[in-house]
């Protein structure tokens, strides 16, 4: 048992700093999770108000409440707010708060990255809404199709949209890597994959999806901004570009996006259904398979958003077939939930009412989804209110209702007080009835011919009564949301205190107090089954796990740590050191925001300054401190636990974080290559504009140093681990030289080309892909030099603070070298072959 003094010191280590510093420097996942959720709900409220304004305009035919420009701005900001600023950030917040407790960890893998993610998200949201202050509000829809969003047809409002979106996407990517690594590497001992809560599975699959989907959107929005600000021609059909390319890039993100939101919502439903039925979830393996299937197949549906763009029918039919099949996965989950509840009498708590509401609304939305998956039917209803009805049914039914169910279910854990069931029921019925009154008539309105995105409609359509009903429903829904907020705020002071486990749930978060202590678990739990709190007898545990868990009881006292486990089996493999409070993530987010604002304001000095400032913050953030290293060396916790505190290679969370980063960069290049080949395949001549094909000899000369550096990078890491200092220095010097030569050659090559990036789409793609790679090499060079200095000063091959950075720099180095080979093949070989 820990002594009172030890407990006190342990609590102090985990507590946030006092005063205003706490606001900016907090890294604890509980605090940041709540911030994400509160900020997301605030954006939800604003987005809701925008919707009410639109509904007022549409209440009666030929209404003059607002003009077309204002209406365009409202539906753009409403959609953008809900899709980018509410749904995914709220889910991220829920994940950051709940996940550590649910999987038996004290925090997430990279606490400072969480802080950076929050501040970047907040900045992105503020940039979106700053457009209202300038009078130039985005007005091209939440999807911003080109050419409407291109430089010829839109103003600075779209720049706010692109820059705000880019910041939000960066935040999302950071959170995604965080969630994936935490789930894989920081589960409680004994929590193998098959004992993981279904919510954790859904967050894992969503996190992986985010890494691919958000990156493609980030690339797409970067290309759009390049067209707008730098004069490139990716989407300009008059200069060899292709407007449809934007749609491909956007919907490759856009369709998985809805499943990124939906899957965690299904995880919430699975959790609540099992708890309400007081029975383990039926067909666990099938449900997990359905979640994975959804994750995969959702990336193959994007063209069902493009049925009316004139793509060949045969091609579209494959996407129609895939769109029909994804219903199988949802169906599996629904039947599993029904099976779980079969024969039981769940209590009709507020959270369970929302689950029932979800069933009703989402299944209706699913029916209309199957209808519009059929291309000929979609051709009739595309761009009508039928589609508006469909996606609100699946998104509000499939995402918002489960999230509200989750809020009502977990608020007692968060706040330590129960919500009022009476107010909860009022909130539910107002929301449920209001929702159906708002959106069901829209199916009919769409079939009667009311198009989307029109600010008014003629009386001759004879749909006034449907619109009046919809507007009444919208205000009823708004009232419902207000009641929910009142319930939450009221419960903070007047709600009855919550017991540790008021719902008699089975998962680990209910084993700690409500609200949870700042460190989560005083002693990391050892898990022996899928429903740990429902075990009636204690199966034999793993002695190594018990030992490690006991060693971390109220320990370590002067640094933050939690147990690390194998990704599949849940065996204890390490103690993961966790970062404490710091201001660098906040300032890094400020730097990045300034860089993006520089583009927005056309203040092109601000952009590089902002990037340099952000880079300096990242370096400071990650640079190890000698006093901390000494603290770790002196601690006896690793010895008592029987596992090391600082691990390298695949056991290290930082290694996995680097893999996440490299996956993002590889996906970004994949999106660029896709754009290149898409433009090529629709061009009669390539290169366009009579430009000469790139010379192979020139390409070889420029890229050979980069590709060869793969060997010198490997040589560096091997020499270090074998203790061959002389060889290591030579290898490092060779690597730095090769990269410097490459950078000089590519700079000379690009500046002496007979074309600029503004000439045509081929020229744009050639320059941007080359510059993207050069940027990566510059980053790798900077990392290598910083790492090299540490390596040269290293006294031991086993020094963790040298070995791990070297491994990471090595990974990055080999990656950029390999990417060099691919870029050479794409830019220099393919024009001669295709």
């Amino acid at each position: 048992m820990p002594s009172p003094n030890q407990l006190k010191e342990f609590e102090r280590t985990w507590s946030a700093p006092a005063g205003w510093t706490e606001m900016l420097a907090a890294v604890n996942s509980q605090r940041l999770g709540i911030r994400f959720m509160v900020t997301a709900l605030a954006f939800f409220a604003v987005g809701g108000v925008l919707a009410l304004l639109m509904r007022i305009q549409l209440t009666v035919s030929d209404n003059t409440f607002m003009g077309p420009q204002t209406y365009n701005e409202l539906f753009t900001m409403h959609g953008s707010t809900m899709m980018y600023l509410f749904a995914v950030p709220f889910i991220e917040g829920l994940a950051l708060y709940l996940l550590p407790f649910m999987i038996g960890s004290r925090d997430v893998a990279f606490p400072r990255l969480t802080a950076f993610s929050y501040w970047t998200y907040l900045s992105g949201g503020l940039v979106f809404y700053a457009s209202f202050l300038t009078g130039s509000v985005p007005d091209a829809g939440w999807f911003s199709y080109t050419p409407l969003s291109g430089p010829a047809y839109s103003g600075t409002g779209l720049d706010f949209w692109v820059m705000g979106l880019a910041l939000v996407e960066v935040a999302g990517l950071a959170a995604a890597v965080e969630i994936v690594v935490t789930i894989l590497k920081m589960r409680a001992p004994g929590m193998s994959l098959q004992r993981m809560p279904v919510l954790a599975w859904t967050l894992l699959v969503s996190g992986v999806m985010m890494i691919f989907a958000f990156t493609v959107l980030l690339v797409g929005s970067a290309l759009l901004e390049l067209d707008r600000a730098a004069g490139t021609r990716f989407f300009d059909p008059t200069r060899g570009g292709n407007s449809l390319l934007w749609q491909h890039l956007f919907w490759f993100f856009g369709h998985p996006e809805v499943y990124i939101m939906f899957l965690p919502a299904t995880g919430v439903i699975s959790t609540i259904v099992a708890t309400s039925a007081q029975r383990p979830l039926a067909a666990y393996a099938l449900v997990v398979m359905a979640v994975m299937l959804t994750g995969f197949v959702s990336f193959g549906l994007w063209m069902h958003h493009m049925y009316v763009t004139g793509l060949p029918e045969l091609g579209l039919s494959f996407f129609a077939a895939a769109s029909l099949m994804i219903g199988v996965a949802s169906g599996i989950q629904i039947f599993a939930w029904i099976a779980t509840m079969w024969g039981t009498r769940p209590k009709l708590t507020t959270h369970f009412l929302y689950v029932l509401g979800f069933f009703f609304i989402f299944v209706l939305g699913g029916f209309t989804g199957v209808m519009i998956a059929v291309a000929p039917f979609d051709w009739q209803v595309h761009d009508t209110f039928f589609i508006v009805a469909h996606f609100h049914y699946v998104l509000i039914g499939g995402v918002v209702f489960p999230l509200f169910a989750g809020v009502h279910y977990w608020i007692p854990k968060l706040g330590g007080r129960m919500l009022s069931e009476k107010l909860g029921r009022w909130g539910f019925w107002l929301t449920f009835a209001g929702f159906n009154l708002t959106f069901f008539p829209m199916h009919i309105m769409g079939l009667l011919g009311l198009p989307r995105r029109v600010y008014r409609y003629p009386e001759s359509l004879q749909i006034d009564s449907y619109n009046i009903a919809a507007t009444i429903g919208a205000f009823a829904m708004a009232a419902g949301f207000v009641v929910i907020v009142i319930n939450i705020l009221r419960s903070r002071r007047k709600g009855p205190p919550a017991s540790g486990n008021p719902w008699h749930a089975s998962s680990l978060e209910w084993s700690i107090s409500s609200p949870p202590p700042v460190y989560g678990f005083l002693q990391p739990p050892v898990v022996r089954s899928r429903d740990p709190l429902w075990e009636t007898e204690t199966p034999p545990g793993d002695s190594a796990a018990e030992r490690a868990s006991a060693a971390l009881a109220a320990a370590p006292v002067r640094w933050r740590a939690t147990l690390g486990t194998d990704a599949i089996t849940g065996r204890v493999v390490a103690i993961h050191v966790l970062a404490g409070p710091a201001l660098t993530p906040f300032f890094a987010a400020v730097g990045l925001t300034l860089a993006f604002l520089g583009v927005l304001l056309k203040s092109y000095l601000l952009t590089p300054l902002g990037l340099i400032f952000a880079a300096a913050c990242f370096v400071r953030w990650m640079y190890p401190r000698p006093e901390f290293a000494a603290l770790l060396r002196e601690s006896d916790v690793p010895a008592r636990a029987g596992v090391p505190a600082n691990v390298t290679g695949t056991q290290s969370t930082v290694w996995w974080g680097m893999i996440g980063l490299l996956t993002i960069v590889a996906t970004a290049f994949g999106a660029l290559f896709y754009s290149y080949f898409y433009l090529r395949l629709f061009s009669e001549f390539w290169p366009q504009g009579g430009l000469p094909k790139p010379e192979l000899a020139t390409g070889l000369r420029v890229y050979a140093p980069l590709v060869l550096s793969a060997a010198t990078v490997r040589w560096t890491t091997r020499s270090f681990t074998r203790g061959r200092r002389g060889q290591m220095i030579a290898a490092m010097a060779a690597t730095v030289l090769l990269w410097t030569v490459y950078l000089g050659l590519i700079a000379g090559h690009l500046t002496t080309q007979p074309f600029t990036m503004r000439d045509n789409a081929y020229a744009s793609a050639f320059h941007i892909i080359s510059l993207a790679l050069a940027t990566c090499v510059l980053a790798a060079l900077t990392v290598a030099i910083a790492c090299g200095v540490r390596v040269l000063r290293a006294k031991s091959r086993d020094d963790f603070y040298v070995l791990l950075p070297l491994q990471l720099a090595g990974l990055f180095g080999v990656f950029v070298a390999a990417m060099g080979a691919v870029v050479f093949a794409v830019l220099y070989l393919s024009p001669h072959w295709l």
Binding site: F296, L311, F319
Partner: protein
């Protein structure tokens, strides 16, 4: 003792250990990878094959595009079937006498991965079959 392709390299005297990691991963992602390959290749062949004039070339009454699509579907089905077969063999491997030598955690985790892989590979095989149906409506023209 016959050596299964699922086994990690060992001497014939040692009892076979857990299924090879590569087999377990192939069992988990093989079906999904097959599906993804099928969808992407089928779309590229359908769109660009038709645009490039391959839809005008006929072999045994079918267009070249149709033949390419049939070939792609056959390849994807073969890959998904191989993944399914791997899942079945993992299950059989774990029911054998040597599974008693595996650590409990490894046995449970591998068994779960095998079950998961089997179900998902079967479903992906069905999805590929459904996705291949449209081809038969475009055998003679694009």
């Amino acid at each position: 003792m016959p050596r299964s392709a699922l086994m990690s390299p060992r001497s014939p005297q040692d009892p076979p250990p857990a299924p090879a990691a590569a087999a377990v991963w192939f069992n988990l992602v093989g079906g999904g990878a097959a599906w993804m390959l099928h969808l992407l290749l089928a779309y590229v062949i359908a769109e660009f094959g038709c645009l490039s004039g391959l839809g005008e070339v006929h072999l045994a009454g079918l267009t070249a595009v149709a033949w390419l699509l049939i070939g792609t579907s056959a390849l994807a089905l073969a890959l998904a079937s191989a993944a399914t077969a791997t899942s079945i063999r993992i299950g059989q491997h774990l029911q054998g006498p040597h599974s008693a030598k595996m650590k409990t955690a490894d046995l449970e985790a591998t068994a779960f991965s095998g079950r998961l892989g089997l179900i998902s590979n079967i479903v992906f095989t069905v999805v590929i079959l459904v996705q291949s149906v449209p081809i038969f409506f475009y055998l003679r023209e694009c």
